[in-house]
Amino acid sequence: MNNHEAKFRLKAYRPGGQDAGAAAFCEALAQAERDPALRAWFAREQAFDATVAAKVGAIVPPAGLREAILAGARVTPRRATWAWPAWWWAIAAVIVVAFTFNAVWRSRSDTVPLDSFSRFAIDDLRLGHHGGYGAAEGVLETALTNPATHLAGVLPIDFTKLEATGCRTLHFAGHDVLEVCFHRAGAEFHFYILPRGTLRGADGPHMLELGGVSALAWNDARYVYAVIGQTGADTLRRLL
């Protein structure tokens, strides 16, 4: 270490002696001990620094500052910029909630539950007491009974009107479901209508047979349908 380097380091040496044990200064201090010129320079530097430090240290804070800090005199503190993350956290929370809600919603409405809807219809046939009334239901029942009507075609369905005028209404997975009974060729069938709402379409139709009861479910843009009967799966397919 030459004197230039030693001076560079010793300029960071505090005049109060707080850095006496710091390893970074050992070599420079040792060199100052050996070199009289460097020692004299260092003594003057320390004297200058001690003088300035004393002057700076003599500056007295205004009366009342300490009390003001302790008392929180500034009742309405300036909004610190570090407070901004709270807003970002709030926004982030909203986004997370929105994504979670969306994910839950999508999971609930992932696909049309054709199988469970078919099971629901079969159970209703076994357990339910069927019956309904109303003009709208009469129109729909007439259409369903007509051998020329394809159930997968356009049917006279006004869900709200049917529900309001006495068509039998059930509940499936939180949704209202209409049920209409009809006959063809002496056989009894039951037709179920579930509004699609947010349900996404599924590949269909879906056939299910349980205990001698067949159920065929499908969907179009507006509704999920199921038709059940006890005359076999082929009979149901021909209804479509």
Binding site: F8, R9, K11, A12, R14, P15, G16, Q18, D19, A22, A24, W41, R44, E45, A47, F48, D49, T51, V52, A53, K55, V56, G57, A58, I59, V60, P61, P62, L65, R66, A68, I69, L70, A71, G72, A73, R74, V75, P77, R78, A80, T81, W82
Partner: protein
């Protein structure tokens, strides 16, 4: 109990006594540092209070309480940087000359005779990049390593800035030690009457 103290005491890791202890130990040094940065008593008070307010609300997140001192100085410096409008004037630190002239004995004597306010004024004349480490150095609370940590610069940079800052301070002190310049009136040339 004040708002700040209440906020401090509300944290389980920091009671009101601890907060008061910190205030008593560091508020004067923080104020001096703030004064050298802001060059205004009101702004310095504001910065000091703001620093303790930040401590009262965020200080509990500091795991190593031994770092409280550095934390406070760092916070004050950051608050200062945030509060001031950035000067568009950019000084390339590398372009500033590094003085190599040695101190003269009478230079030290002149500084001794100066009022503390004038010394602080001279400190305020030092370029800001040098002023912050230089003030921290003269406050003697922080080592050069802690200054580096406080200001977020490498240790070598602190040493370099201390060296250059001292040169600027000496120049500023020399100007103040000379006192106001007396500019003599030019001699009035009297018109001779024949």
């Amino acid at each position: 109990m004040g708002i700040t103290a209440q906020a401090a005491a509300s944290h389980p890791s920091m009671g009101e006594d601890t907060f008061t202890l910190l205030v008593d130990r560091y508020y004067a040094a923080l104020y001096r540092f703030a004064l050298s940065l802001a060059r205004s008593q009101a702004d310095a008070c504001d910065l000091t209070q703001q620093t303790f307010y930040v401590w009262a609300t965020k200080g509990h997140t500091l795991r190593d309480t031994a770092k409280a001192k550095t934390w406070l100085f760092t916070t004050l410096y950051r608050e200062f940087l945030r509060s001031r409008r950035r000067d568009t004037r950019v000084t390339s630190l590398e372009e500033l000359p590094s003085g190599e002239s040695d101190l003269a004995d009478d230079e030290i004597d002149r500084v001794r005779q100066l009022d503390g306010a004038l010394v602080l004024e001279a400190l305020g004349a030092v370029a800001e990049a040098f002023r912050a480490p230089l003030t921290l150095f003269y406050l003697e609370d922080l080592s050069y390593q802690e200054i580096a940590e406080t200001l977020g610069v490498p240790v070598g940079t602190v040493m370099s800035r201390l060296s250059r800052g001292k040169d600027q301070l000496r120049a500023a002190l020399a100007t103040r030690a000379q006192g106001p310049q007396i500019v003599p009136f030019p001699a009035v040339q009297r018109r001779q009457t024949p």
